[in-house]
């Protein structure tokens, strides 16, 4: 079987694929604005719609040519072509080659299966969610279109304190400081091991954050008592903090000085309300 419909000759792709829109006066001469595509499926849908192609009988060869021309233009404009676009180019080429080959005999089971089917199904599924996204966007959104009466909101972090964006280095430094004080597991006498799970540490931290709005990171690692925590508890506690930060139950803050460099103690704050804090614990198994 071969793809039908007239194939547009190479180089005859509609110029409108790329809607060049010179940026208003004052912009540099070579500035162009590309229609923003959310990925290869989005681009393909655009090509199909633009040329009013029949999706139930997709002229793959023609679509493939236009798709590659588009990628070529992106490269000419020195835009990074994401790997996903290249994967799709390979998929199109594969489908095209499958359509050119006569059906092989040992392929009889697959006879009914059009190699385009999976792609068409993906395009339609994607189109569905694109539309659903548009529907969501049209709703009156909180803090954009509508604003709610808010009684007691979570306290704002102190003035000058900013959420740490790339803070793993600082966190690990702090961990190392505390670890230095922690007793090495040197066995002078046999000790019954005291297994502490990361989960237990998370529960303890959530409890503490419910009581206080913020905690000092290093103080929490040092533990409540006089004696430093043993290393395994310490490491479990550290992991618990990272895990809770990852799932956005807590946030990690540090003050910034005038130059924007971090300064002062690292603090942990809860990012969700008290009830939600509790409700979300089970999912952190």
């Amino acid at each position: 079987m071969s793809s039908s419909g007239p194939e547009s000759p190479l180089g005859d792709a509609p110029a409108s694929i790329l809607a060049f829109e010179p940026i208003a006066e004052g912009g540099s001469a070579c500035s162009v604005r590309l229609p923003a595509f959310e990925g290869p499926l989005d681009l393909l849908l655009h090509l199909i719609r633009e040329d009013e192609l029949d999706i139930t009988n997709l002229p793959i060869a023609r679509v493939a040519v236009q798709y590659l021309e588009y990628l070529g233009l992106m490269r000419e404009l020195r835009l990074d072509v994401a790997a996903e676009y290249l994967v799709m180019a390979a998929t199109l080429a594969w489908i095209k080659s499958r359509l050119l080959l006569p059906p092989s005999e040992d392929d009889e089971l697959d006879e009914e299966l059009d190699p385009r089917a999976e792609l068409v199904a993906r395009l339609l599924a994607y189109q569905r969610y694109k539309e659903a996204a548009t529907e969501l966007e049209r709703r009156p959104l909180l803090d954009r279109d509508v604003f709610a009466a808010r009684g007691a909101e979570l306290p704002e972090p102190e003035e000058g304190e900013r959420e740490i964006q790339v803070g793993l280095v600082q966190l690990v430094d702090a961990l190392r400081r505390v670890l230095k004080e922690a007793p090495e597991g040197t066995a002078i006498h046999q000790v019954v091991s005291e297994p502490v799970t990361v989960r237990e540490c998370m529960v303890a931290l959530v409890d503490a954050l419910e009581a206080a709005d913020s905690l000092e990171f290093e103080a929490w690692l040092r533990g409540p008592g006089e004696a430093p925590l043993n290393r395994s508890i310490l490491v479990a506690t550290f992991l618990a903090i990272l895990e809770l930060a990852r799932v956005s139950v807590l946030r990690i803050y540090q003050s910034l000085d005038e130059d924007g460099a971090p300064r002062g103690p690292i603090r942990l704050r809860r990012a969700v309300g008290g009830t939600e804090l509790r409700e979300r614990l089970p999912e952190l198994a």
Binding site: S4, G5, P6, A36, E38, G39, P40, L41, I48, R49, E52, L53, D54, I55, T56, N57, L58, A82, E84, E112, L113, D114, A117, E118, V120, A121, R122, L124, A125, Y126, Q127, R128, Y129, E131, A132, A133, L136, E137, R139, P140, L141, L142, D143, R144, D145, V146, F147, A148, A149, R150, G151, R246, V247, S248, A271, G273, E276, R280, E283, A285
Partner: protein, 212 residues
């Protein structure tokens, strides 16, 4: 207690609440009331607001009630607020739509639908508390499963997931995209392709493609 007093209390409670409050919780506070009465009083309050042309209404979101400003007043509220209004990128909206309709699902499943990497988008949705981790899929690698949060319902003004608009039927989309074909020499729809595409689309890994 008179309906009027109940209304006064309800109005005050919603004004001071930090998040949507359920009818059950409201009725536990308002003397001599049950949930049906609470709903009735809230409806009366809304009728009053409308009759008097007030700038807010009581809305049902996330399974509870919340006092909210009217959408047409947004420009004024935005002007007063120090922070810029909420912004939702196309990528965030598409990802949220997929999670909302197919939850719980893995990152790879979202990526299959969107055809692009969604790592950064999912992370930002987690940070904004619109999406949460809802466990792991018990397959090798134990990938995390994502679902929407109560906050998602609140932000999008939905009472529950079943209030999401129904997804368009695949058949419907097929016809729309087939109708555009007017080229000469073009054959009619390829029945085999059609059937295969439909079967593929219906075989989506969806224990809950339509929310209930």
């Amino acid at each position: 207690m008179s309906p009027e007093e109940q209304r006064r209390i309800l109005e005050a409670l919603l004004l001071a609440a930090a998040e949507p409050v359920t009818a059950r919780r409201l009725s536990s506070v308002v003397p001599e009331s049950n949930t049906a009465q609470v709903r009735e009083r809230l409806a009366e309050l809304n009728q009053g607001y409308e009759a008097e042309g007030r700038g807010f209404r009581i809305e049902e979101v996330g399974g509870g009630y919340q006092l909210r400003t009217l959408p047409e007043l947004a420009p004024y509220l935005q002007a007063l607020r120090p922070s810029p209004p909420l912004r939702m990128s196309r990528a965030a909206l598409e990802t949220l739509a997929i999670v909302a309709y197919q939850q719980p699902l893995t990152r790879a499943e979202i990526e299959h639908v969107r055809g692009v990497d969604v790592g950064a988008v999912v992370r930002s949705l987690l940070e904004r508390r619109l999406v949460r981790v809802a466990g792991h899929r018990e397959v090798p690698g134990r990938p995390m499963l994502y679902a929407t949060t109560p906050r998602f319902l609140e932000v999008f003004g939905l009472d529950s997931l079943s209030d999401l608009p129904t997804l368009r039927e695949i058949e419907d989309l097929l016809h729309e995209y087939a109708a555009g074909s007017t080229e000469e020499g073009a054959e009619g729809p390829d029945p085999a392709l059609l059937a295969a595409a439909l079967a593929e689309a219906d075989a989506e890994p969806t224990p809950g493609s339509k929310p209930h």
